[in-house]
Amino acid sequence: MVTLPVIACHECDLLQRKIALPPRGRARCRRCRAILYRDYPPGSDRALACTIAALMLFLIANAYPIVGLEVQGNRQTASLYDAVRTLWVEGREDVALLVGFTAMLTPAIEISLLIYLLLPLKFNRVTENTVPILRFLQTVRPWSMTEVFVLGVLVAFVKLEHLARVEAGIALWAFGGLIPLLIIASASFDPEELWAKATG
């Protein structure tokens, strides 16, 4: 029985037979409707292309100011790094670590590990340590909160408008572009292709 292509649902443990899917189709669990697996267009470079674009936007998003503020001729700008540093310097190391971890470190890890896995795959090679890296990616992903951070910036933006003239910086647009890229990249990354090549 077990030699059949059988899969267990991750959310209710029900055993189900794997069947061929129509292009871009997804298989849902018969009992709890969880997505069991999906069909990826073969040989697609979309995941790699999106991840590389995401890396470039991520670098811009971190290098440039997100918001600028003008009060009585004084101009002040803040990048994500400035926010983390200011919190740290003012004695709120706990909040600084949380912001640095969820808005900076985890997206950086997510993007760079995806490139590390996908780039060799393009040349039909499989990265060493694929298993620990995939497992690490699964652990890290829930903590990567770029989209929440962008909404937070927008709320801060409106709050400051009562106080002074506020301008959106280049990094805000870069962060905005990063959100769909990260979603597309992780949705078009087919781990099965990796497993097929890694285990022969």
């Binding site: 077990v2 267990a8 926010a83 200011t86 912001v99 829930p142 937070g152 801060a156």
Partner: protein
């Protein structure tokens, strides 16, 4: 309809746990486990496998209780202090929402209220209900309960909103001669609530919701 069809049909009304199979969360492969063993190694990728998340109920309870306790300082302590010519003003999460409401940004007030107050409190209560239902081996609509769990899993992260708002305000309105904003202890407590409730959701195993179902059909 031969013997093999009948066997196949039987297999597909059963769960992996029932048949002594362990499912790999990294590569999806099923591995046969030793009899009565609830742990093993994946035959394809070598990952450590467990039949269910270990001590799921105990760990979820511990994190939930921590979350309830932290929820009090998170809401009572100020999340930020504003120093200006008019003195120091301290804001809690709720007073921040009220400020947004009265200053005319009611849509933002609603967003911040949902992310910072509604989601964390609803999450604590709903996850408690789910854990209790599993402990009592409830058979109440498992699909409904799984859907509730999925909602909890996807909305939890949005509670970080206020932490990011404070971080940006602190960075911008800083070292300013007239006005300075500093983060308060409430921000740390609130951040801890978000982290703890996220961990609690991860510690809970939704397969436990379906386990009593399986026993009834035998």
């Amino acid at each position: 309809m031969g013997e093999s069809d009948r066997l196949t049909k039987m297999a597909f009304t059963r769960t992996a746990g029932r048949l002594g199979l362990l499912s790999c969360h990294v590569c999806n492969r099923l591995t046969e486990s030793a009899p009565e063993a609830h742990e093993g190694r994946c035959s394809r990728c070598g990952s450590h496998l467990r039949s269910r998340k270990p001590d799921s109920i105990t760990r979820t309870w511990a994190l939930l209780i921590t979350g309830y306790l932290l929820f009090i300082p998170a809401n009572l302590l100020p999340i930020m202090h504003t120093n200006s010519l008019f003195g120091v003003q301290s804001d809690t999460i709720l007073s921040g929402v009220v400020y947004l409401w009265t200053s005319g940004s009611w849509y933002l007030a609603v967003i911040v209220f949902i992310a910072s107050i509604l989601i964390p409190s609803a999450k604590l209560v709903t996850l408690t209900v789910l854990v209790v239902s599993v402990q009592r081996c409830s058979t109440w609509d498992p699909l409904q309960r799984t859907n509730i769990y999925r909602v909890l899993e996807s909305v939890g992260r949005w509670s970080m909103l206020d932490i990011f708002v404070v971080a940006m305000l602190v960075a911008l309105v800083h070292l300013h001669t007239l006005t300075t904003i500093r983060a308060g202890a409430g921000a740390a407590a609130f951040g801890a609530v978000v982290v703890v409730t996220l961990l609690a959701t991860m510690a809970f195993d939704p397969r436990l919701i379906w386990d009593p179902q399986r026993a009834r059909h035998e």
